[in-house]
């Protein structure tokens, strides 16, 4: 610390004298952690209420992508998750709809509100994935879309005059639907997840889980987990992003036991034991979607929406986006802005 004419050494010990101005900018000071004990109520904890009020006023964005072969019940599942028609089901090929020639990206946004909390939910559907004869590189349009959203955000962030709140279209969560073959993952599954787990949070789910018995389910899940591990695929929640011991314990349990969630979706209600429940009716019984004995839908819902929604957004922003940004700025920064092409492809294919 600079010595003024009459500064005593004691002062330097307790606080830092900022060096002469007009030199290099002052290095931001790390708090010295002087634990000053509070001798009475101050009111600092009101900041929590202030935060709550502010976030409720501004609302939230959440963008979820669903990927999987057609017929695996993606739209139904998303509608069940959000208890509304956020995703329009494809009505099957016998109704004048062409099989898309390439993977399409369809993003539809809705505003939903609950308990004073407003959420702009965007569901990004990927029809055509895995449906071609030759599915080589069918993950590419999806990766391109994801990167385009990062690019959009980056361009806004880098503007001189920035918006107070940059609109967030980045994909926070990608549900990947695994076919319930009971054997193992398909090469396509591995290809997709290997490439995309590096740019987005992937949550693998086993679709149409009502075709497997409990034992088959457990075995299949174990095999899938093993295969993912062997192939170095890190699905969400990624081990390296566990912030502390509390997170790690909670997430370890999910990673090693619950995931991938074996789910069943439905938007139809039936009467079971005097209660109206969502389910699927079969000759041999009613499969209750929200019954944990029947399937793991409730676990998936709680995981994605009730406990880890904010974390999904934060990992996307603090890690995936930053990785994209760093790579972009390093790669001879100043490339001309990427053109957003997906809309044009849309027109030609319909």
């Amino acid at each position: 610390p600079c010595a003024g004419p009459v500064e005593s050494k004691n002062e330097a010990a307790m606080s830092e004298l900022v060096p002469e101005p007009r030199q290099k900018p002052v290095v931001p000071m790390k708090p010295m952690g002087i634990n000053a004990s509070l001798l009475g109520y101050i009111g600092i904890d009101t900041i929590i209420e202030q935060m709550r009020k502010k976030t409720m006023k501004t609302g939230f964005d959440f963008n979820i992508m669903v990927v999987g072969q057609s017929g695996l019940g993606k739209s139904t599942l998303v509608n069940t998750l959000f208890k509304s028609q956020v995703s329009r089901k494809s009505s099957g090929w016998n109704r004048e709809e062409k099989i898309p020639k390439t993977v399409e990206i369809k993003a539809i946004g809705h505003v939903i509100e609950e308990g004073g909390v407003k959420m702009k939910l965007t569901v990004i559907d990927t029809p055509g994935f895995g449906d071609q004869i030759n599915n080589e590189n069918c993950w590419e349009p999806i990766e391109k879309y994801i990167n385009e959203q990062y690019e959009k955000f980056l361009k806004e962030e880098v503007n001189i005059a920035r918006k107070k709140r940059i609109p967030d279209t980045r994909v926070h969560c990608c549900l990947y639907f695994i076919s319930p073959t009971g054997h193992s993952l398909r090469p396509l599954d591995l290809e997709f997840m290997k490439h995309l787990s590096k740019v987005v949070n992937i949550i693998p789910v086993i679709a149409k889980a009502d075709t497997m018995t409990l034992e088959e389910k457990t075995e299949f899940k174990q095999r899938v987990r093993k295969e993912l591990e062997v192939n170095g695929i890190e699905f969400y929640p990624q081990k390296e992003f566990d912030e502390d011991l509390e997170d790690k314990t909670e997430n370890d349990k999910i990673r090693q036991e619950s995931m991938p969630f074996a789910v069943v979706g439905s938007d139809k209600e039936y009467q079971v034991n005097g209660k109206r429940v969502l389910g699927r009716k079969t000759p041999w019984g009613i499969i209750e979607v929200e019954n944990l004995n029947h399937c793991e839908f409730a676990l998936l819902r709680d995981f994605v929406i009730r406990t880890h929604l904010q974390d999904l957004k934060e990992v996307t922003h603090n890690i995936h986006y930053e990785t994209y940004r760093a790579k972009r700025l390093n790669d001879n920064g100043g490339l001309p802005p990427m053109t957003v092409e997906t809309e044009e492809n849309h027109e030609s294919n319909l």
Binding site: S15, L17, P31, I44, F82, L329
Partner: protein, 420 residues
Amino acid sequence: GCRTLSLSAHVGFDSLPDQLIRKSIKHGFCFNILCIGETGIGKSALVSSLFNTDVEDSPSTHFLSSVRLRAQAFELQESNVLLKLTVVKTVGFGDQVNKADSYQPIVDYVDAQFEAYLEEELKVIRSLFSYHDTRIHVCLYFISPTGRSLKTIDLLTMRSLDSKVNIIPVIGKADSISKAELQEFKKKIMSELVSNGIRIYQFPTDDETVSEINAITNGYLPFAVVGSMEKVNIGNKMVRARQYPWGIVKVENENHCDTIKLRRMLCTNMEDLKEKTRAYYESYRRCRLEKLGCRDIGPENKPVSLQEVIEAKRLEFCLEVERKEEEIKQRFVQRVKEKAAMLEEAEQQASMPVLTKFERLMLMNQEEELKLGEKKKLLEGEIAQFIEKKAISESIQSQVSVSAPVSLKTKGLRKVSANA
């Protein structure tokens, strides 16, 4: 615009604010206060009183040659909220004979925090999430309790800061003003601020739950504050107070001073203060980047990426550095040549066997000795002449009577003294 959908059952995303709050609590909160005021106006005492915590501080001298800033950091915990509080105080403000530059170090400090954040933000690999934000969220400007009006330095300083930081003016050591004078003083200050176009922080009135109380509090500005590091035993409780022979000024008594009001307002508007700080940062950032020559729209009206501009500037800078390097190199080579020429010349001049210093001195000595020897001979000759003359004059004197001129003798004497 998106369609609004209604939900058929409970989904559960109403827990989102709680999820966010849980993460923020884990991460901790930070708040940075800047206190500007003359030496001895009670900055440390007020901070101690505001946060009811003992802020150790040794009194400063009045003899600093320029204004400096001192930062202190604290960690305060209240229920599950951990607040990392940083208090930055001016040291030596208002002490100099010439106060013309007093506000500059403060402005520089505020800018430096913006600059540090901007630097981090512009890094390729950055960690904004764990970055400790040092931007100043609120500035408490201490006005002297003269009871008259604002000083020129107050106006100058506040004007230089009002576009960079939230300013809350407070009257320091307000227990030295009577209540009646206080009202007049406050009115005068506010009208002076308005007439000089100085923007101070207004507590927000857009949210109905707090608009009323905030509007009322806005009417109490500037806050007349009293702080104390000492506590007095009143009714079996240790209370922060100032004890006078005529009574006790209780810091936490709202009839005695506005300290509690200030505390309440700071705490309940922390989030708003931080948001406004972010807006100030944005304008700083905009100015700074524009100065660097960045534009959002390039010369052909096409959007220009920030990175393009930075890359171009970087190239420019590198070229400049290379050019300067070359220049310095040339100059160096030139100087070496000149020096070499000089040395050669010097060598040529000394074409005779070069005498060492010692030999030279010896020579000089010998010459001096010769000269002195000659002088000595001359002197001896003169002395001999004088003795002769003296003998003659004495003999003449003994022959002549007593009335002999004294001048002869003194003349002779004078001559001897001149040769000595």
